[in-house]
């Protein structure tokens, strides 16, 4: 393990939280502009401090990097222990990166209680970075659960008409899942001789029936978060009702918390149960990819459509994880990062439309390209990314997962590949109905094209989507060692 001299990860976690608290404390609704500038400054600084993590990350090193370890709750042997490896490193950066867009997207749109909105998102950003870098079971759980509080408030205060229902459903669903995980964490604590060290759990021998129960407890927590079919029903509600920033963070990062949990907990701690239940997991993933893809096709609400497409895309991720080969697992992680960019961008685009028309109904649009050419270009690009077109980031992950799936079992590969058509269908059909054709009504003809702020935010994401699609090597290189190590570990049975 590489011991870091400067606590970069702590800084990445606590800086945005400190900014958030500061904004909550000093922000006044009478001067929203100062709050906005301060938030933007805070989010950019918080992003900048994560860059040394990429720069100093050693692609070839095994194990955790930037490790920090302090005693926290001595009596239960709980440590404040942080570290990242190839599986988690990019998500730290992605989280800080996306937060900047959330702040920019809210600039003129959020008018009531700006300080609370911005403060909540900055705190949320720090907490999510904490989830990706925690190496202690309780620390992980604390960060994992704490994220619910700001998100609950964000959906409930700044959300749409049915926000109360959506926020409570979101909270209770995810809380339910994580409570069972807590029991599993405590069980592992006693099994491992009073240790909450996640890495120590990786090598802890467990019986098959224990492994299956622990796997299922973790599955409840992570499947709800991902979300996997059939516990996905909170997501469309939460997405539709959340403000644009909330949808972006939900899709781009929060869903990844669950998928990341599979990599950090389920697979390495219960490898035999993972193999044993892989058929079950693959089935659930394929249902998500195909059935939810079909559901996405018939949506009339743009946000709902993208929400369902998120579930389908996350189905690819979990599908990749349970193929147990390099290509598929890496593909899954790449897909997670790419989906962070693409879905974030899609929700920002919908936000742009919604700010002008105050409707998310697909039928209310049509011919947008005629009045908003710049916007149309971005929208089509991101739709292509959503459909997984080559040269966009969406292609890389899905292609790798399908390759891995074919390696695992031809028929599963075939089914997954078929699902790509569905992705293309709902994404492109959405673009067709919204962007192209004749102008359908006079509201559309009155819409103004992107302003500088919107152009900047979509432009940056477009660069990210294309760069990752054309040259994914930096992403895959960084995760190569960790994925190989993980798979090597998972292939060794814990049974004797």
């Amino acid at each position: 393990m590489m011991q870091s001299t400067f606590p970069l990860l702590s800084l990445a976690i606590w800086l945005p939280i400190a900014f958030g608290v500061f904004i909550l404390a000093v922000g006044r609704d009478t001067n929203p502009n100062a709050v906005r500038v301060l938030s933007l400054f805070g989010s950019i600084v918080s992003f900048l401090v994560t860059l040394p993590i990429v720069a100093k990350f050693d692609n070839a090193a095994h194990g955790m990097q930037f490790v920090e370890k302090l005693k926290w709750i001595d009596i239960f042997n709980i440590n404040y222990s942080l570290g990242v490896d190839g599986l988690s490193m990019w998500f730290v950066i992605l989280t800080a990166f996306i937060t900047i867009f959330v702040v920019i997207a809210a600039w003129e749109v959020i008018e009531k209680r700006v300080a609370q909105y911005m403060g909540a998102f900055l705190i949320l950003s720090g907490l999510m970075i904490g989830v990706f870098s925690a190496l202690d079971g309780v620390l992980f759980y604390v960060f994992f659960e704490s994220t619910l509080i700001p998100m609950f408030i964000i959906i409930g205060v700044w959300g749409g008409a049915n926000r109360v229902y959506a926020s409570i459903k979101f909270f209770l669903y995810t809380f339910f899942g994580s409570l069972l995980m807590l029991v599993a964490l405590l069980y592992l604590y006693f099994k491992s001789g009073h240790s909450f060290d996640i890495l120590a759990w990786h090598t802890l021998p467990l019986q098959m029936n224990e492994q299956i129960l622990i796997f299922l407890a973790f599955l409840m927590a992570f499947a709800v978060k991902v979300p996997m079919w059939p516990v996905h029903t909170w997501l469309p509600d939460a997405h539709v009702e959340a403000p644009t920033g909330g949808s972006v963070v939900l899709a781009a990062i929060m869903l990844k918390l669950g998928a990341y949990g599979f990599l950090r907990f389920s697979l390495p701690i219960t490898p035999d149960a993972s193999h044993y239940l892989s058929g079950f997991m693959i089935t659930l993933s394929l249902i998500a990819v195909i059935y939810i893809g079909l559901v996405a096709l018939v949506q009339t609400d743009m946000k709902k459509l993208v929400a369902y497409s998120s579930i389908a895309h996350m189905g690819f991720v979990t599908l990749g994880f349970f193929m147990f080969n390099d290509m598929a697992v890496q593909g899954g992680i790449v897909q997670m990062i790419s989906h962070g960019f693409v879905s974030g961008a899609m929700f920002l685009c919908i936000g742009v439309l919604y700010d002008r028309m105050h409707t998310r109904n697909i039928a209310d649009y049509g011919g947008v390209v005629n009045v908003m050419p710049k916007f149309a270009a971005f929208f089509v690009l991101f739709s292509m990314g959503n459909a997984g077109l080559p040269a966009t980031s969406g292609f890389v992950g899905e292609f790798m997962v399908i390759l891995g799936a074919v390696q695992f079992n031809f028929w599963i590969g075939l089914l997954a590949a078929t699902a790509l058509i569905l992705g293309a269908a709902y994404s492109l059909w959405l673009a067709k109905r919204v962007i192209f054709g004749a102008i359908t009504n006079h509201h559309v003809s009155e819409m103004a094209d992107l302003n500088k702020r919107e152009f900047l935010m979509l432009g940056l994401l477009a660069i990210a989507v294309l760069a990752m699609g054309l040259y994914p090597a930096p992403f895959t290189d960084a995760m190569q060692t960790s994925v190989t190590d993980l798979l090597k570990h998972v292939s060794i049975s814990k049974l004797h």
Binding site: I73, I75, F76, E145, G156, V157, L179
Partner: protein, 494 residues
Amino acid sequence: MNNLNLIPVLPEIFLAVAICAILLIDLFLSDAKRNITYVLSIIALVVCGGLSLGDFNTGATVYTFNNMFVSDPMSNLLKICSYIAVGLTLVYSRQYGLDREMVNGRLGGEFYILALFSLLGQMVMISANNFLIIYLGLELMSLSLYAMVAMRRDHAISTEAAMKYFILGALASGFLLYGISMLYGATGSLDLTEVARATAAGTVNKPILIFGLVFLVSGLAFKLGVVPFHMWVPDVYQGAPTSVTLLLGGAPKLAAFAITIRLLVEGLPALAIDWQQMLTVLAVLSMAIGNITAIVQTNIKRMLAYSTISQMGFILLGLLSGVVVGADGSTTNGYSAAMFYSITYVLTTLGVFGVIMMLSRAGFEAENIDDFKGLNQRSPWFALVTLMLMFSLAGVPPVVGFYAKLSVLQAVLSTGQIWLAIVAVLFSLIGAYYYLRVVKVMYFDEPLDNAKIVVSKDVSVALSINGVALLALGLVPGPLMTACAAAIVKTLAS
């Protein structure tokens, strides 16, 4: 052993003297100067705090009055927390009492006197090492509280609550006494140490012991307010003036915890198997009925009453997961988890009722959940404090309530009762719903009532410290957990 060592009893003696002095001084004060009673009461609490802290720091266990009274780390820690609880209650309820002529006018400063007397009763309960002393403390506390619940004589609901509390409380005391008489008959002693020795020797008539134990546990369950002995809790919480609700829902829980430890763990460890089974039933029923019934409440005090019932269930979970034999650090963690849970629960309750009293004003009781509507627009800071209080009760990190639940759950799992842990977390999920509802009305709804919230400086500071303390304890829960564990280990080792 020194038989008449007065040093360990110094806090109690000081408080008793102070109460009498304050009572006399109050007699000569006009209403305009009634604040002096309040200030003197707070000063008395601070001095008691200093005395108990001195005892706590020695870390010693001292018996006195022929083993009837004990001063050990557990009792001192619990007493310090009780002073804080009663002190905060007095701060929160001053304005509330003034608006309702409860701390001035006809009643004079009796509210403060009775509050301090009930505290004295709690201190005696916490330090008692003898059946009769426990009963003495319990009655001193209860009689003061009965009188306070009835303080607003012209209020029908208050009077009804007082009647109910008195009759059921007397019944519970009767149960407890009956149980004690059985145990006395079987073991021939009222001294807890002697009782423990006699029961462990195994020469005692077992049926009589069990019979006594059943009554003892029922009496304790009444006092703790757990199902099926909980019927008085919602009515009394709702009917009593809010300041009194806090006085009987806050610090007395610590005393009830203490006598449970004294009677069951210290006095009857040989019957652990029996009382652990009884507590399991009580705990599961309390969590079930408390949480499910709380969902449908519209009155926040009533909702909090049911929430208390469920939280007491959680404390029992800790108590039943302790291992009695061999008192080292790991085997006593059930008791220290329950103690940590009780202390943090009391701290949270103080804050919640503090907010309720803050929102009330002359002629208006903030009693319904709807009265919290739009609090975020009326006062963002206190909405945030209430949010932390609610998430603490629900057990969501990073607030301290989570760590309390975590330590109890780990105690439950350490004894291998996985199903009990799963039942507990599932009921916590149900509980989360009604706590969330309070957050929901505060943040998502428009205010019903736009009256400016008038908060006096002392309340504002105390409430802020209370809220921040919950978060700070959540970020750094280690020291308090360690203190609880050390106190329990030392207490049981002696």
